[in-house]
Symmetry: C2
Subunit: 455 residues, 2 copies
């Protein structure tokens, strides 16, 4: 079953909202998955979205809320009272989602909502989760875990689990802890299901003891890496002394993966904040303008460099013909080289590679490309019967520029990574601009020399 | 527990391999997770990798094999006999991994291996999986599902599941089917664990009937989308008549997500095949050269355009100063605009948006950027006391070029998507080159006009 929102359905819904036909709206959304309802609401103008949202109640409303686009969610949260948030929303969602909702509130409202939470454990859980820094395993985890003690019998464990399971919607794994709540192992549901409900068999005899775990301080990126590497659906999170504090589920990790991919992609495209097509023009401009200004500054610097060669240009205006070719190729090569490095760093297969070895490898790729491109442009300019000096200048400059752009593209992201700056920053307009400038410098220097040689 | 491969450990291992100290190698890898062993082997030269791999046996060896980098895996597979592949590898891995391994073999070897498989069901499963087209749900799925019939009692279901479970390593969900094997619903393990083992309660009374599923033809991208949207760990795969054929697990979907992100990122960076830093220079060049050649062709076209203005350049060589600025800005804006569209299309929030509405939105963003950038360059050129004609030319051309680049960047990927071409192709050197050329044309046209106005 999967719902597709067609234009006629959307228009019918909007008409229902306009006319206040609540029962028709109910009938449409009643059987939908919360994620689908959220998708419908996301497509409505704000006032209509609020109207539809308010028609829902209890668990359904809470589940839809956490699936909504962040902007709309914030708007809706602002329209809810502290009591509504505490009783209608937080009651029905997992602690990690609850902490996310709380993080979006103002500090005063947060305090009010926390005071209104009746369940002390829930209050403590949310307060704990709010203390972890964004981008760490602590900030990703939820507190909903089912734990059994290693020294319990299977029979006792099952009784206790049934008690715990009432509060937890999805169970993927059962955690086994020792008497100090330290993580001892995991017990796949399958093993439990198929082991006799005996009072003699102890949990520690049937559980797996080599559980992959992370600590609350582990970076989100590393959490993704481990979950992918070890193919685990849910990762236990422990503190420095191995006490089990919570768990991270695969869906949160998928979200992190998407965010990381988006961020890298946007940086490579010269967009510095997380924006999308639905953001306002002002918000979009704010994310895009800085990169344009870097390019602009580079362009102005280029103009100063070229100005140095004004006399030469006056005599040989043909020199100007191939400036775009040199600059564009330098930019393209630089972006390719830095992308290879950024991906290598992200995939983790470049940490222990030393910089010289990496540069040597890249130099060989560049030599191949430079030879092919240099030769092509040489033959084309021969065919076009360009002046000898220009033909040599363009080919030699292109050859040189491909090599230097590949080196810049390799060294800059590697160096950024060493200094703990996100290397993806290097792949955008930054490296392109630098290579544009260096390319032009090379071109005019070679040209100056060649026109001396072939006057 | 997580293993980190340090340089001393790697060097010690290589010394052990060189001296044939097999027991020392065994001692190192014995307690490692297959994914960690694969990581170690991936870091060794081919001959040493083969040596270490051959030291492993049975299930461990098979599990390591499927975790290896594809290149090394292919090499290892080539060194194994058909009998070894059938008995030592395929016996121990899931059907989806088995089909992947088979897909890497030559057709003849594949036929030999299939003939050597003793289990008829396994043989049929693998043969079926090999028939699905790459990039579809069928090619991603595995045949390992636990199914119970809707009309069975809980007690009977548990007996039957115990029988089935012997062959299946991880169980996430139990599928409920009707008498014709059509998907009826799902039964979370949790519900089964906590329902009495009764002969009266029927499965159809306790199972969930609104299971999210995909068909064998569903595209991999859509599989990812649904798994993320509905937060499900494992998706059932059915045929056109809803007969349950297999399941796709979250780890396969994570791999698809990574591949898609890599592909988009590489296309945006001008790299056309999936290459990484470890590939040979020739392979890397093959993936990169086509984009450089597009840029080169664009550069040559640019040179022909500029040549038309040779006389003007001879009189006003200053015109050349700002060519890089115009071209670079046009390129940057175009990449930004197309990246926004590509991401919107990928996120699925741009399908029903009409092109005119999207262009109008983008035009407003572009107008803001164009005004800011145009004004800045105008003031700078005033400050630099450039000629009046040049000052106006640069500002007006920059303003115009930002608008046109934004429009190209928006329309091209949208149009590509309509014609079923991957819109991510538009974000790379392609759109940059086009915008470079158009930018120069605009610049010289405006310049020609302005120098007529302010002689």
């Amino acid at each position: 079953m999967s719902f597709e929102l067609t234009k006629p359905v959307l228009e019918a819904l909007r008409a229902d909202v306009a006319e206040g036909r609540d029962s028709a709206i109910h009938a449409l959304i009643r059987d939908l998955h919360p994620a689908d309802i959220a998708m419908v609401i996301d497509r409505l103008p704000l006032d209509e979205a609020v109207y539809v949202y308010r028609l829902m109640e209890g668990e359904a409303a809470a589940e839809v809320l956490i699936e909504l686009d962040e902007d709309l969610r914030d708007e809706l949260l602002n329209s809810l009272t502290s009591k509504e948030i505490a009783e209608d929303v937080l009651e029905h969602i997992d602690s990690d989602d609850a902490a996310d909702v709380m993080a979006d509130l103002s500090e005063d409202k947060r305090r009010e909502v926390i005071a209104l939470l009746e369940d002390q454990e829930q209050r403590e859980d949310i307060q704990e989760l709010l203390t972890y820094e964004e981008g760490t395993a602590g900030a990703l985890m939820g507190k909903e875990v089912i734990t059994v003690r290693a020294e319990w019998s299977v029979a006792r464990a099952i009784v206790d689990m049934r008690r715990q399971a009432h509060e937890i919607e999805h169970i993927y794994t059962i955690y086994v802890v020792d008497k100090d709540d330290r993580l001892y192992g995991i017990l796949p549901l399958k093993d439990l299901l198929f082991s006799a409900e005996s009072t003699r068999t102890l949990i520690k005899h049937i559980c797996e003891t080599d559980a992959i775990s992370v600590t609350v301080e582990t970076e989100a990126e590393e959490v993704v890496h481990r979950m992918k590497k070890y193919d685990v659906v849910v990762l236990p999170v422990v503190d420095a002394t191995n006490v089990l504090l919570g768990r991270i589920t695969f869906d949160d990790v998928m979200d992190v993966m998407s965010e990381e991919a988006t961020e890298d992609y946007q940086l490579a495209s010269g967009i510095s904040e997380d924006v999308d097509a639905t953001d306002s023009p002002i918000v979009q401009m704010r994310a895009r303008l800085p990169w344009l200004l870097i390019g602009l500054a580079g362009g102005i610097l280029s103009s100063r460099i070229i100005a140095q060669y004004e006399d030469q240009l006056r005599i040989v205006p043909e020199m100007a013909f191939f400036m775009p070719l040199i600059a564009a190729t330098a930019g393209n090569v630089g972006v390719q080289s830095s992308a290879i490095v950024v991906q290598g760093l992200a995939a983790g297969n470049m940490q222990s590679v030393n910089m010289i070895a990496r540069m040597w490898k890249e130099l060989r790729v560049a030599l191949l490309s430079a030879t092919v491109c240099g030769l092509i442009i040489f033959l084309i300019n021969l065919g076009l019967q360009q002046e000898q000096a220009l033909t040599y200048t363009v080919s030699i400059a292109l050859f040189t520029v491909i090599l230097s752009a590949a080196m810049f593209g390799t060294v800059i992201p590697l160096a950024m990574d060493r200094f703990d700056v996100d290397p993806a920053l290097a792949t955008g307009p930054f490296v392109t601009t630098l290579n544009d400038i260096f390319g032009l410098l090379t071109y005019f220097t070679v040209g100056h020399f060649m026109y001396g040689l072939f006057p």
